[in-house]
Subunit: 444 residues, 2 copies
């Protein structure tokens, strides 16, 4: 098998089983395509064609084909909420959200004022994404401009579609991490000019959360969104009960009575179509309706929600009320970079509430659903012709246990479900970004 | 480094960091021993000595030493609840307990009437235990005598301390899996004669649960325990709310009014000091007190409890009320053979209830705590001189992410916590049973 990088623009085929979602299985259960013996043809970093191997090969005589028979190709995974500086603090013991920020997060993020340090962690972070089959992510940097530059530079080299931004935080945090409404605005503005829409990179205006941004800073964030309407907004909402109570009292004099935590962001005009709110565990149905109306998205981060004891996200409710939902690892409160393992725990979160997360719904969350949450479904999240060629080659038999279990597997649904239950980074045989091989599990 | 099997009786040392628990950290936080540069000396399959490398080597001139510097030796893990026939059905989709038994478990167990088939799965099952550092287990077989013989034979060859038994089930299950009170009694009796206390093997009288055994069969089980007081009793209790309601109504005419599900087992005299009740999620404080009084144990199975949506075991409550608690994977409703991953989810189950499971408490659960649950703490669960030499060599840097994370680790507590958060079978460098190397991760 050839695994060297193709020359730019070279047309190449990949033979494997291929699965991608075409719609939300919650709405349209049959909205997917599966080719047991499939062929995915890539050219110029985009999908040229996808179909049955025999048919498609006939139409492309002389095509060079990489043979991944026995493997399963799916669209690259998309992580809609992750903090790259927290790569080095996964598994920090004992606290719930607010104490956890003070005890672990803030001291860790301090070091990212130094660009070399930031770069060294960015490299590890991106390597971990790719090892786990994640080809796109919406990422928190730190308050430091250098932390953003470092991550964008590294992602650009890899050709990844990546979104990040400087964290805005001007209160209720250590002095060494605080900016001001003005520096927040100015530095974001400069970063947008430098990076937004540069190749596959996009910028996200990034107030950490309502507790660490003053009303004035939230207004500055809104101004940035008005001036750059295709920029993203990312922040946190309703992750933890103490946090919710705190935010609602903190803003009591700033917003109309009975405004919810989410409503605070709406009051400050931050609920855009390109806004992604992480967690949303303690949102009520009214909040979900507001999200649906504004077309803002929630990022569901099950391993993190369990690890911090934050609670159980009401996925079924949110989706039934038309909320766009993406999947997030929330490293470093999350406990795995693997979106397979994240789906394993997503299943459990839904099950504890009496629901069922089917494998197709799960893979939708990790691919097309997250692409839609980022308003990027025309570019990534599926393998339709014209889409950017981000894809993962999964190895269903990656471990002895998976191989043994698969002897009893008879449908693609079952194979996917076993993969998300037992799979991890070892199940990622190879990862391709814009048609280029960027991770090869078996390379020496 | 030498990794060949030692000649029987050969004295050999193992150099590494070594940690073991000496008591319950819930009661005595300092009840552990840790040697950063330690030496564990094994002879005749037992621990001869444990201490600081330099001191101990002086006392044993000429000792042959296997160098595991940089690794961490802990006692072999103990799995107090696992179904070996379900190895091939992990990750079966969608159901809660009772429907899950009907849809997946019973059809799967049918095949274990065939001893060759049972043996083939037993081999894989034991290999997975050892790959994950589990050296002892209390295991459910199936209703078929052959399934018990097959597992005992394979465990005997490996020299493992293992406990299993024929499942008793004479009602509310498919005809092809049902026995009778008499055949249950007779076959158990024969298996006890053949296997109980043979080398390191022990027998467990194994009524599946009160729902699948008639009162007459439960009385037969009690008779077996009276006739063989050092045999174990294993069964399930209060795993699922529908199950609890069903059992309480099923036995309404058999037991005094207001008898709880657990009380049913007590009524039938099954709550011995060697009884292990799996799950116990929906037990109340009165039930916990009864368990403490009878000195029976509960097996806490977090990945399974989440996967089936059964609920959250109240670990803190149970331990505070003096209940013996062991750890279980409950494969196949559990989602991992790894007790490290099981501790990862145990932490989350405790956190969701507002508690904290420290790394020492967690490793206690997986080693000495489970040994105590099985009344085997004089033989396994720690590395005191005289104990059977079941131990695991953990590799704290087993994956690129672990290695990166460990750069920031400064205490043994933190190292253990990171291992149970990010570790899996890859973190098990080697597994020793009675002093013999039975799993070597790096062997070709």
């Amino acid at each position: 098998m050839t695994t060297t990088l193709p020359a730019p623009g070279l047309r190449r085929g990949y033979r494997a089983s291929v699965l991608h979602l075409l719609g939300d299985p919650h709405v349209a259960p049959q909205a997917y395509a599966y080719f047991d013996d499939g062929l995915l043809i890539i050219e110029h970093g985009h999908v040229l064609a996808l179909g049955p191997y025999a048919t498609l090969l006939d139409q492309h005589p002389g095509l060079e084909v990489v043979d991944y028979t026995g493997k399963l190709i799916v669209p690259g995974f998309i992580d809609t909420h992750v903090h790259y500086p927290q790569t080095e603090m996964i598994g920090s013991y004992g606290e719930e959200l607010l104490a956890w920020l003070d005890a672990y997060t803030y001291p860790t993020e301090r070091a990212f004022a130094d660009k070399d340090y930031a770069r060294s962690v960015a490299k590890v972070f991106l390597r971990e994404l790719l090892r786990n089959g994640t080809t796109s992510a919406l990422v928190f940097a730190t308050v430091h401009r250098a932390s953003v530059d470092a991550l964008f530079e590294e992602a650009e080299q890899l050709g990844m579609r990546l979104i990040t931004g400087k964290v805005l935080m001007d209160r209720n945090a250590p002095a060494y991490l605080r900016d001001t409404p003005q520096t927040a605005y100015d530095e974001s503005k400069e970063l947008i000019a430098a990076w937004h829409n540069k190749g596959r990179l996009s910028y996200a205006v990034t107030p950490r959360f309502a507790g660490s941004s003053s009303p004035e800073q939230l207004r500055a964030a809104a101004r940035l969104l008005v001036e750059h309407p295709d920029c993203y907004l990312q922040t946190h909402v309703a992750e933890n009960k103490s946090e919710v109570r705190w935010i609602e009292s903190l803003y009591a004099d700033e917003v109309p009575p009975h405004t919810s935590y989410l409503g605070v962001y709406d009051h400050f005009q931050l609920m855009t179509e390109r806004a992604v709110f992480a967690h949303g565990i303690h949102l009520d149905d009214e909040d979900f309706d507001l999200l649906a109306r504004r077309k803002s998205a929630v990022s569901f981060c099950p391993t993190s929600n369990l690890f911090l004891g934050s609670g159980l996200f009401r996925l079924d409710h949110a989706q039934q009320r038309g909320v766009k939902v993406g999947l997030g690892t929330d490293i470093g409160a999350g406990t795995s970079f693997s979106l397979l393992q994240t789906l394993n725990e997503a299943y459990k979160v839904v099950k504890l509430q009496g629901g069922k997360l089917s494998a197709l719904r799960a893979f939708y969350l990790a691919t097309l659903g997250s692409a839609r949450a980022l308003e990027l479904a025309d570019k990534i999240g599926s393998l339709l012709p014209g889409r950017e060629a981000d894809f993962v080659v999964l190895d269903p038999d990656a471990t002895p246990l998976l191989a043994f279990r698969n002897r009893k597997v008879s449908s693609i649904d079952e194979r996917l479900f076993v993969l998300m239950t037992l799979g991890d980074d070892r199940a990622v045989r190879a990862t391709y970004v814009a048609g280029a091989l960027v991770h090869d599990r078996d390379a020496l």
